[in-house]
């Protein structure tokens, strides 16, 4: 069994959660310290499959002093945040580009596409 301390992000209460679990076994997760159901669900996800949307910027090859903003179109595993962040430094886009344009398909094997979030003229 492993133990983790988390802060719930469900509301401003920010309950201090203590989670005990067997890695890889969703049914084994026990949560204490939560004051509502949201806390339990959050903690289970956080110890079994934590995910995040990653946002950042990439260079615009034909513009100076301007970057394009991007995001992963869906959540990716938390463990891949830095892989994606590093990959962004190697990517560029050509202007014009518009919101929703896919820059990289399946970035870093996350299954999520990298898309533009700000129109570049």
């Amino acid at each position: 069994m492993e133990t983790k301390n988390l802060t719930c992000i469900g509301c401003p209460m920010g309950c201090a959660l203590t989670v005990t679990y067997e890695p890889g076994n969703r049914d084994s997760v026990k949560v204490t310290g939560n004051t509502c159901k949201k806390g339990e669900l959050y903690a289970i996800d956080e110890v079994t499959n934590p995910t995040r949307i990653v946002t950042g910027t990439i260079r615009v090859s034909n513009r100076k002093n301007l970057v394009a903003s991007v995001k992963t179109a869906s959540v990716i595993p938390k463990s891949k945040i830095f892989d994606v962040a590093h990959e962004l430094m190697n990517i560029s886009v050509e202007a014009p580009a518009k919101i929703g344009d896919v820059v990289v398909k399946d970035i870093c094997g996350t299954g999520s596409d990298l898309v533009i979030t700000r129109n570049v003229e």
Binding site: I9, P12, L66, V67, T117, R118
Partner: protein, 423 residues
């Protein structure tokens, strides 16, 4: 030039106000924006989490802005970019806005109504009394955000952040993902003013320490920041000798609060609240100057852009009603809203019942963290509502909704009071 409604600022508040004024029947509108594009601060807020209330999905700032820019474009609402407003004043039958741009020089716009939507500014270093020289490497968090997210420039590599407001937290993550080393976030108060979600996902995810009841007591370096000294503070926010910790770094970001930008409003003679720094408004978001409305962060600083858009839509609609004279004039004495225990301010500050539709929404902030409080609404001496909450915190705007029919039962001279009560 002439217009029916001049909207000062093309950020989220100005855009939503313009769309709603147009939809309420005033097609002759003009948005004045000093940047080279519409969208305001949202353009540099490239993180996600915007629009959950308005669009039922999580958007990044620029995507949220684009939704409203699109609405403005569809309606053919006119906007002037790279144009700065330098004065607003009254004239016999309306208002005159003086603006400047490289293209047009200085010019006047005659309007029947003005919507103030200038947003807010960050509290600058000069307002913080931090000691030390004035070396390079000290930025407000929002300035750093613009460099990184728009221009693609990194302000530094070894970073300390003072203030744990949301922009500071967001920038801690942003700088980390861009390869910087964020050594600490120091917060003067014993709690963070930022959202829990940001503390977890911007600091905890990256192992960045949040040091509460801590402030900057020295900045070393003459040409460039070389180190920052942090000290613990006591209950009166005074640094405690012997708790100093010197952290080598090349950059200090300041995220120490936002101030509504009301220089123009002040010159126009709009009455300002000493608590919010924004205008005092009535139920229609009209200021003390007839025909002048205010909304968004220039009125009071919001946590969520969705609430800005909602408030601005109201202001736009009421400005249109003012222009179309669809609301009858009234000589009734307005009912004042009072702040009771724990409540720092309310928006609006007063209400004219005849102008209300069905419901009055009152937004407010508390001055401290309260666990298990009750939010109470008093009409005169009578307690109308009591709502239990698990928590109220200064960083989260609260609201209560009061029925017009209840307000109409009030005796002359009575006030509406919002208070926090704990057991």
């Amino acid at each position: 030039m002439n217009t029916k409604i001049a909207i000062i600022g093309g950020g989220p508040a100005g855009l939503a106000a313009a769309v709603s004024a147009y939809d309420a029947g005033v097609k002759d509108l003009l948005i004045l924006e000093r940047d080279d594009k519409l969208g305001g601060i949202l353009n540099q807020c490239i993180h996600n989490g915007f629009g959950l209330h308005t669009f039922k999905e999580e958007l990044t700032g620029p995507e949220y802005a684009e939704r409203f820019i699109e609405k403005v474009r569809e309606r053919g609402i006119e906007s002037l970019l790279k144009t700065i407003v330098v004065d607003i004043s009254k004239e016999t039958d309306g208002l005159v806005v003086t603006a400047m741009s490289a293209e047009k020089g200085m010019f006047e716009i005659h309007a029947q109504s003005v919507i103030l939507a200038m947003g807010c500014r960050e509290r600058p270093r000069g307002a913080l009394n931090t000691p030390g020289y004035r070396p390079a490497g000290i930025y407000s968090a929002g300035t750093a955000q613009r460099y990184v997210n728009i221009e693609g420039k990194m302000p530094g590599k070894e970073v300390v952040i003072l203030g744990s407001g949301d922009i500071g937290l967001i920038m801690a993550r942003r700088m980390t993902l861009e390869g910087a080393h964020v050594k600490a976030v120091a917060e003067l108060m014993p709690y963070s003013g930022g959202l829990k979600r940001n503390i977890v996902q911007c600091l905890d995810d990256f192992g960045i320490p949040l040091k509460l009841s801590t402030t900057v007591t020295d900045i070393k370096g003459k040409d460039r920041v070389e180190s920052v000294t942090l000290s613990k503070v006591d209950a009166k926010n005074q640094p405690i000798p012997g708790t100093e910790e010197e952290i080598p770094c090349d950059t200090l970001l300041l995220s120490c609060g936002l101030l509504p930008e009301n220089e123009l409003s002040g010159m126009l003679g709009v009455e300002l609240s000493p608590v919010t720094g924004g205008a005092t408004v009535d139920e229609s978001l009209e200021t003390s100057v007839p025909g002048v409305f205010a909304c968004g962060n220039v009125l009071h600083v919001h946590d969520l852009v969705d609430y800005v858009s909602g408030e601005a839509s109201e202001a736009g609609k009421h400005a249109a009603e003012y222009v179309l004279k669809s609301t009858p004039g009234t000589s009734e004495t307005p009912i004042r809203l009072e702040t009771g225990n724990g409540v720092r301010y309310t928006v609006p500050s007063f209400v004219r019942p005849s102008r209300l539709e069905q419901l009055l929404t009152v937004r407010f902030r508390v001055g401290n963290v309260y666990k298990n409080p009750e939010i109470c609404v008093y009409l005169g001496d009578k307690c109308l509502q009591r709502r239990k909450k698990q928590i109220c915190a200064p960083g989260e705007m609260e609201q209560v909704i009061i029925k017009k029919t209840d307000i109409e039962t009030m005796a002359p001279g009575e006030t509406i009071r919002i208070a926090i009560e704990t057991e």
